[in-house]
């Protein structure tokens, strides 16, 4: 064998060895368990990012499908709950910047006709294929479960206690971002449910008689009515919470004004329901349990049901711009 042949063969062996090494390294780098595995920190991050990717284009179905199993598991945490809430909120027709712009485009409606505006922004039909209200409810559950670490929570303040995502009815127990997003989810739920009660015409005014017929009788409060009232109260809570969290003076001032108008009106409405409609003790700031949409019993003198009736009366009055029509 000539010297050239020997060297050429040696080079081929060396090249082959190193190419083999390249291939082995490349192959090894692809090994390992599935990376969309929620039991690992990396997998959890990947699933949350995948959910966000779907929500870039408003693909609600795939977003929910990506994160739901992890949310319903023991590996659920606040990051997962936030992703789940946004996936459900997608199904509730929330589009953040569009909603902010729509709310800002009609400043007058924020002070008069606010509830009618929400009905316009969140159309919904009471048919099986319309999941708007269901999605708003589930998004609310997920956001209520985003608790601050180490917060002591009383037993009667928990919602969904037995689940992997127990929540709190107290806004201060939750993370600021959870309350901020719950503000928008609540609006979506209120608007969608209003469309269930009445066909909102082009002028966004419902026909007579009053749309919320449980306004003067707590025993007429149904599960849907309680959900509506619960969302109104959560809306009131989150305005205050977000107003506390922001720092920009102009934004803070606007939120404090909204808080002063709506939060107090809603709390007063609860109180009127308890005192005037039901004749029971005052429930200023609304019964704590009413933040839980399953808390109303429809039994006479039930504080949550009484407060819900008071809220219905307030919404009716706000819609017509005057006192409620019996």
């Amino acid at each position: 064998m000539s010297a050239f042949s020997w060297h050429w063969n040696f080079y081929k062996v060396l090249a082959a060895r190193n190419l083999f090494l390249f291939s082995l390294l490349w192959g090894l780098s692809g090994c390992g368990a599935s990376l969309l595995d929620g039991t690992t920190p990396q997998g959890k991050i990947a699933m949350i990012e995948k959910t966000n990717q779907y929500l870039n284009s408003g693909d609600c179905t795939n977003a929910i499908a990506t994160i739901e199993d992890l949310y319903q598991s023991e590996d659920s945490d606040n990051e997962v709950r936030f992703a789940m809430a946004s996936a459900y909120a997608c199904e509730a027709n929330i589009n953040f910047f569009k909603l902010v712009m729509d709310l800002s485009s009609d400043p007058a409606a924020l002070s008069t006709g606010f509830f009618a505006l929400l009905a316009k922004l969140f159309p919904s039909q009471d048919i099986p294929s319309d999941k708007t209200v269901t999605a708003a409810k589930l998004a609310t559950d997920a956001l209520m479960a985003m608790l601050k670490p180490g917060m002591p929570i009383d037993t009667d303040e928990y919602v969904n206690f037995e689940s992997f995502n127990p929540g709190s009815v107290v806004a201060q127990d939750r993370l600021d971002d959870a309350n901020a997003f719950l503000l928008f989810v609540s609006m979506a739920g209120i608007g969608a449910l209003e469309n269930r009660y009445v066909t909102v015409d082009a002028g966004h005014k419902p026909p007579i008689p009053t749309p919320l017929d449980f306004w003067n009788d707590e025993t007429k409060v149904t599960a849907t009515d309680c959900t509506f009232a619960s969302m109104v109260v959560n809306f009131a809570d989150t305005i205050g919470s977000v107003a506390e969290a922001v720092n920009t003076p102009s934004t803070k001032a606007s939120l404090i004004t909204l808080q002063a108008v709506y939060q107090q009106a809603i709390f007063d409405a609860c109180d009127e329901g308890c005192v005037t409609i039901c004749g029971i003790a005052s429930c200023a700031q609304c019964p704590k349990t009413l933040r839980d949409r399953t808390s109303c019993t429809g039994v006479a003198k039930d504080p949550a049901s009484c407060a819900a009736a008071g809220i219905a009366k307030m919404v009716n009055a706000a819609w017509f711009g005057g006192t409620a029509v019996p």
């Binding site: 060297h7 040696f10 080079y11 060396l14 090249a15 060895r17 190193n18 090494l21 390249f22 082995l24 390294l25 490349w26 090894l28 780098s29 692809g30 090994c31 390992g32 990376l35 969309l36 920190p41 990396q42 991050i45 990947a46 990012e49 995948k50 959910t51 966000n52 990717q53 929500l55 870039n56 284009s57 408003g58 936030f82 809430a85 946004s86 996936a87 909120a89 997608c90 929330i94 589009n95 953040f96 910047f97 569009k98 909603l99 902010v100 712009m101 729509d102 600021d176 971002d177 901020a180 997003f181 977000v242 969290a245 922001v246 720092n247 920009t248 934004t251």
Partner: protein, 357 residues
């Protein structure tokens, strides 16, 4: 040395990882290293060795000054928006416009200048690096990361051969580098409350003020020559040992352990180099994000690049006219935790005025 490939395999199994979810950002982007898709640690035979693997400076036997080396890169989302032009007037700006222009987009621009002086075994470079980025996802509940980062500083490195000069078949090199940097800003993910509360004060907080940081790099190379035409190399570099940290607000530069191998074959004035690196070996990420495979075809005055950066193809072309070099290339980065989730393609242009003697 015959067992070197086995040693290389062992690195992948015995490293303590840390978790990093997003883009694996680099302090330095060299045109040639990027053209090789980041597979440069075993090559590192030019001024980029100052930043990539100081051991490569052992090969420098002459003086060279890159007195004006500037690089600019931008993401395709930004480039396409600029090329198409905005058709949205101020009066038409609404939520849908924000969604269309921003959501799911990775808007990124970077400018870097690295004038350098190379002497036998030693290199010194100034670094000026500015980055601006907006990374936005999820139109339902916006997840927005704002990037504003300015880094200025000085980096010096030295590389030395441990083999006697008579040994032309082998060369084993070691190197050490040090840097002093001033950095302001970084990449900050906004909370939803911050998205609602964006104001000048917040942006100034993100930008911060310049903070001082020090860093140390080290590296080694093993070169095996088979005659005059063919060579194989192995490289290992550990940059920003222990993380290069700044006082409080500015993003740190994470430690980066890189291992790589390369093969080169030269016929007259044509040289072909194939290189493979695994970068960010300390980070707990999708292993595919560590892969860098590059091919360089050097012709007289023209160099063609191609390869795979992580899992995405890259390509480039360089024109070198002795005193002037212009390089254009395109590469893609994975912005998510795992590969194939969020590709962002970038376009880079590098120009350098240089002189050697």
């Amino acid at each position: 040395m015959r067992f070197l490939p086995i040693y290389l395999l062992c690195y992948f199994f015995f490293l303590a990882p840390f978790l990093q979810a997003a883009e694996m950002r680099e302090l330095y982007r060299g045109a040639r290293a990027t053209g090789l898709s980041g597979a440069f640690v075993s090559i590192a035979d030019d001024e980029q060795a100052i930043f990539m693997n100081p051991a490569g400076l052992a090969a420098q036997k002459k003086f060279k000054i890159n007195y004006a080396t500037v690089l600019a890169e931008a993401s395709d989302d930004l480039v396409m928006s600029a090329l198409q032009g905005s058709t949205t007037g101020l009066g038409d700006f609404d939520g849908n416009t924000i969604n269309d222009q921003l959501m799911g987009k990775n808007i990124y621009i970077r400018a870097q200048a690295t004038p350098s002086l190379i002497m036998p075994n030693i290199g010194i470079s100034i670094l000026i690096d500015d980055q601006v980025a907006i990374l936005a996802k999820n139109r339902v509940c916006p997840q927005i990361t704002l990037g504003y980062q300015m880094t200025n500083g000085l980096q010096a490195a030295g590389g030395f051969s441990l083999m006697p000069r008579t040994k032309i078949q082998h060369d084993f090199r070691v190197g050490l580098g040090a840097k002093i940097l001033w950095r302001r800003g970084g990449y900050k993910k906004l909370s939803l409350v911050q998205v609602l509360d964006v104001n000048q004060g917040m942006l100034e907080t993100i930008a911060g003020s310049y903070e001082l940081g020090y860093g140390v790099d080290t590296g080694l190379q093993y070169i095996r020559n088979f005659g005059k035409s063919f060579s194989a190399a192995f490289g290992l570099a550990y940059t920003d040992i222990g993380n290069t940290s700044f006082v409080s607000n500015s993003d740190p530069i994470y430690a980066n352990l890189t291992a790589g191998i390369s093969l080169s074959y030269q016929i007259k004035s044509i040289k072909v180099t194939l290189a493979y690196d695994q970068r960010h070996l300390f980070e707990s990420v999708d292993a595919q994000k560590r892969n860098h495979l590059g091919l360089e075809l050097s012709l007289p005055m023209i160099t063609v690049y191609g390869g795979i950066n992580q899992v995405y193809y890259s390509y480039g072309l360089s024109f070198d006219a002795w005193l002037f070099r212009l390089t254009a290339m395109s590469y893609a980065e994975e912005m998510s935790a795992i590969a194939y989730q969020d590709e962002t393609r970038r376009y880079m242009l590098d120009a350098s005025l240089k002189i050697g003697f």
